[in-house]
Structures are given as structure tokens and as C-alpha cells.
Symmetry: C2
């Protein structure tokens, strides 16, 4: 079986219409909502998606051999840098409620990972209530954390190794759920689009986290970095040389094993480097499908995010390694052994 | 023979003392200078370096099997974000003059790559004169370009694919010298130190450049990205999928071959990924030694930047590939066939 840690909800069009109204009115009309029903959310995962070859979300994951998928909000839609903070919170809650409907509509395919109301004008203690609601009331299995709620605006919040973040780490440990690290949008005059911003923010925050004392302070914290950890596995030699002074005396690459990674990389060479650098036991299958990789690679005639067969073809992985990547590591980390 | 594209001058201590005075007085004392002599600059490459095991620059490159090295300023010292612009210009000129003395002291070991007076309060047309002076009067073989002269301050200048940069590209084409892309320092509240900032800036600017029309506008432009191109080769699958809309219809990975890369990566897996992704004919040997990688890897007992033997051990490279990486590609690009 293949379980994908990195899926984003395909919400009904009413969700982005709701967002448009929130931003236009800046909250003047109150929270409101989409009124989305379970039937509408089932349909939004079964309807053809114009951006992705007019195939549905369910068709796409079927084509990619994905049996089950954890669904989080589409990160770039979360408007963390919009004002006022109330519209960020309302949109986040509405998105999480739609993910809950998706899980109810497809209980054998989906489990929920919640977005957090990370308005740039809030602090992590203000995000805990929504994580708690989603885990304890809606049955979600984890939260998604954007390391740059400023979305490229200045100044950035402190990086993830700093005490500023501790309230949300405390809550994740208490609830015993992983935090999936996935940046969101990116605003001009920053020079990268949101999809490249994922890579730069993952790089900066993963290095800061691994060089910090966070894992000494929270030994049970479970963190999963998306997109194979940005630049980090490729630059690990440099980071080993730079990170000589950590209080633990352990090499950077060894401390990196405190963290988990999704295998959301769209080249075989990249995937092999990830597995070799962090170890296959730290990797979770992840595609983001349908998403950035859902286009045809002219060199192979296949979708870039058809990762399963690429992982299968890596000759230095044992059958046990592959089973861990495809489902075992995720089942253990997310306590989904019986799903 | 091994020629290293990525060396930084080991200047006499008077250079950083000069910088301290410039910043403290904000230029009130005029340009002044170090008064460094050829003898002093010879000595500064032969004296023990306290940060690097008390071995000299020459001893270090000898130990690493580096026969010849292109010397550029130590990028993090270039104070591009300091004010006023005059002190940035004066310090850059003084540094370039010291590099010229190093080349004169060791003509069989060094050639010069100049820094540019990239004050954040200037534009690229104001950097051309120093590039021209160094190439035509001092015999330098190229220039070094910092893609982020704001050094992490806000807002950033446009990325390297934008017309803002065109005056320096025009000059580099006219003088027929390569530009070595190497970020410099990084100021709080940015969350990364300067050495990690290299990686994030290389990533952002390389992607912007390759997705732009710069190479259509400047077909003879020669650009070398340091540190193996940041995150780009590792994330190339994602970048292929993201970069579908370029006017040339060529894949991102194919357009990447407009650019050259140094092999300044301190792991075998990283180096192999670079060679496979961009092709060995686009790679130049580079160590940064003595620099960030000049510390002992406890796993091997060798310096991280002992790259030559790692390149030698890559089994899929032919003898011709290796000769190209070690010297041939650089000799051709920098017109140093007879050195």
C-alpha cells in the first residue's frame, strides 16, 4: 500500500470565492462561510480539474498508485500575510472544515492535516486552539506549519529554531501529532514565486532548527519537512563544515535525523540523494498530487509526480526500506497503524 | 593539473583594519589605503592562518592538490550594504589592488577575479568602470558579482533575470570575461548567516536567470554559479515542472546549460548529482580553500574541501570529463589555455 503524506484538498470553488469576499471586505461582513456540504466536497474531488488535464483529484491519485493520502490545505491559499487577522483565522477554519468533509466523504482515502491561523499579526500561542480543535474534535492526524507567515514581507519572524515557536511545539507534543512544515505564499518585492519560496524557506528553517536546541527541549517533537528539505541534503557537506559548534558535538547530518522528510522531489537523482543522506527510515512518500508536479515530463512521457515507480526503481533500497517509505514510516509517525 | 575557480585572497591584516576605519568614520577621513606592499601580500599567503589549523594559504592549496587558483575578494568582507557608497567603492578598489599584488607575487599560482563596487545605493552601470579597470589595466580574468547587494535588507534589488542588471552583462560581454556569481554578507533580521545566504541567493537568482530572456539578449554572456548552484540541481524536477512556460519551449534543465557551475560541494553525493544534472562539461573545479570547508570531516579524517580525490573517484566520469572539470573547462571559459 502507498500512503501519501503530501496531498492538498481540492475544495469546491465556493472556498476561493469565500476568500475573495473576505479580502475585498476586509472582514466587514463577518465570518460567513461557504455552506459547503459533504456532497459538494465529494464532488469537488470527483470533478475534472481544468488545470490538471481535466482529471479529478481521485483519478489523479489513482493514476499515481496512491491508495491513501493525508489532505492539508493548499498552502498558497492560506493568506497568512493578509489583514486583519480575523479573515486569516476564518478562512483557515473554513478550509479545515472542508478537509473534514473530504475525510468523511472518502474515509478509506483521506485523513486530515489542519492549517493553522498563522496571521502575520499573531504569535504561535494563538494558533494552538485551532490545532487542538482539529485534532480532538475533527479527528485530524497532524498540523501544517508555515515557517514564514510574513510571506516574504519584512521583517521575517524568527526562524524555527527560536523560542518564539515554542507554544506550538508544546501543543504538538501534548497532542502527540506531527507538524508538516510547508511554506505558503510569497509577496513581491520578494523575487521568487510561492513554489520556489517553499525551497528557500525550508532551507533556512531546517538549518536553523537542526542547529538549535529545540530537540533537546522537546525530545518527542515530530517534524516533517516537505519537498525533501529544500537545499539541505544537497548542501549537507557544507552544513557539516558550518555546523561544527553545536552543543551536542554531533555532526549536522546526524542531527538531521531528528527530522522527517517527504520524498516530494521530481527526479530520481534527487530522491536517491535524499535517501542516502537522511536514511530511508526518515522519509515519507509524498507527491503533492495534483499539484506542481502534475504535468508531463517530455523526457519520459509520464507525470513528474509519478514518484512511486521511481522509488520502486532505486536499486540500493531494500524491500523493507521501500515499505517504510511507502507507508510504514508514516503509519508509525502519524499513529495510523490500523488505517 | 588542477585549477580552482573559487579561491579568496588571504589579505594582510591591514585590509580589515582599513575596513574598520572606513566604517567607523563613514568616509570622513577620505579614501586612504593599506599601503600594502608586494612583500606583505606574499607573506600573507605564506603566514600561518589561525582559523585554519595555522597553515598558510599556499600550504592549504598544496595539501589539496590545487596547482593554480583564481583569487577573488572574500565576499563576506565586501560591505555592499554599508553607507555611504564611497566607502564600499574604496574598499573594493583596495581589495582588488591587493589581489593584483598576490598575482604578481605568485604568477604561477594565481590569477585575479575582481570584486565590484556594488553599494546598495548604486546601480550596475556604476560598477562597470571597476570591472574595466581590473580587466584592462590589472590583467584580471573575470569579475565576481553579488546577486544581493542589499545583503538581506529590504527591499531586495531585482533578481538576475531582470533588465536592471543589463549594464554589467553588456560590459562582461564586451570585455569577454565571465562573471562569478557569489553572494556576500547577510544582515539581521534575515535568519541565515552569510554562508547559508549564499545558497538561498544562488537558488533564487539562478532560477530567475534561467527562466528569463537574458541569454537570448546576451548569447555570449559567461556566468559561473558558485556552490554547485544552491538548491537547483537537487530540485531540478520541480523546476522542470514549474518552468513549462518559457518562450524557448526548452526544459528548465536544458536551459540550465547556458550557465556554468563550480563544484564547491563537500559531499560525493552532491558532486555526483551536480555532474549528472548539468553535465561535466558545465562544471569547474572549485573549493573555496581555505574557507568554509577547511575543517576535518570526522567521518573521513580529511578536510571537507579535499574535493580533488572525490572528483577523481566518481566512477561515471571519463578521463576526459575529469580533465575538463579539473582544468579544461576553466581554461576555455577564462581564456587561460596558455597559463
Amino acid at each position: 500500500m502507498i500512503i501519501d503524506v503530501h496531498g492538498h484538498v481540492s475544495a469546491p470553488p465556493s472556498l476561493m470565492a469565500y476568500q475573495g469576499g473576505l479580502i475585498a471586505a476586509r472582514g466587514a461582513h463577518g465570518k460567513g462561510g461557504t455552506g459547503a456540504t459533504l456532497e459538494q466536497v465529494r464532488d469537488s474531488h470527483n470533478r475534472p480539474l481544468p488545470n490538471w488535464d481535466n482529471k479529478s483529484h481521485i483519478e489523479h491519485i489513482d493514476m499515481a498508485g496512491i491508495d491513501r493520502q493525508l489532505l492539508s490545505p493548499r498552502p498558497f491559499t492560506l493568506i497568512h500575510s493578509e489583514e486583519p487577522a480575523s479573515i486569516v483565522k476564518w478562512f483557515c477554519e473554513e478550509t479545515n472544515d472542508i478537509i473534514k468533509l473530504a475525510v468523511d466523504a472518502f474515509p478509506d482515502r483521506f485523513r486530515g492535516i489542519c492549517g493553522l491561523p498563522q496571521s502575520k499579526d499573531t504569535t504561535p500561542d494563538q494558533w494552538v486552539a485551532e490545532l487542538r480543535r482539529c485534532v480532538t474534535e475533527l479527528g485530524f492526524v497532524g498540523g501544517m506549519l508555515n515557517p514564514d507567515p510574513m510571506e516574504g514581507l519584512y521583517p521575517p519572524v524568527p526562524a524555527m529554531g527560536q523560542r518564539w515557536w515554542y507554544p506550538i511545539y508544546e501543543a504538538a507534543c501534548e497532542l502527540d501529532v506531527p507538524l508538516l512544515i510547508h511554506p505558503a505564499s510569497c509577496r513581491p518585492p520578494a523575487r521568487e514565486n510561492y513554489s520556489l519560496h517553499f525551497i528557500t524557506e525550508e532551507t533556512i528553517n531546517l538549518v536553523d532548527l537542526v542547529n538549535s536546541s529545540v530537540y533537546q527541549d522537546f525530545p518527542t517533537l515530530k517534524i516533517v519537512f516537505c519537498h525533501g528539505g529544500g537545499a539541505v541534503p544537497y548542501q549537507v557537506g557544507r552544513l557539516n563544515a558550518m555546523g561544527r559548534s553545536h552543543s551536542s558535538n554531533a555532526l549536522f547530518v546526524d542531527r538531521l535525523r531528528n527530522v522527517y522528510f517527504d520524498a516530494c522531489l521530481y527526479s530520481k537523482e534527487g530522491l536517491e540523494l535524499l535517501f542516502k543522506t537522511v536514511g530511508p527510515d526518515r522519509c515519507l512518500f509524498g507527491t503533492e498530487r495534483p499539484g506542481t508536479g502534475t504535468s508531463i515530463n517530455p523526457a519520459t512521457g509520464k507525470y513528474y509526480d509519478d514518484i512511486a515507480e521511481v522509488v520502486e526503481s532505486v536499486d540500493f533500497l531494500s524491500a523493507e526500506d521501500k515499505a517504510g517509505i511507502f507507508e510504514g514510516n508514516l503509519r508509525k509517525l502519524y499513529k495510523l497503524e490500523s488505517w
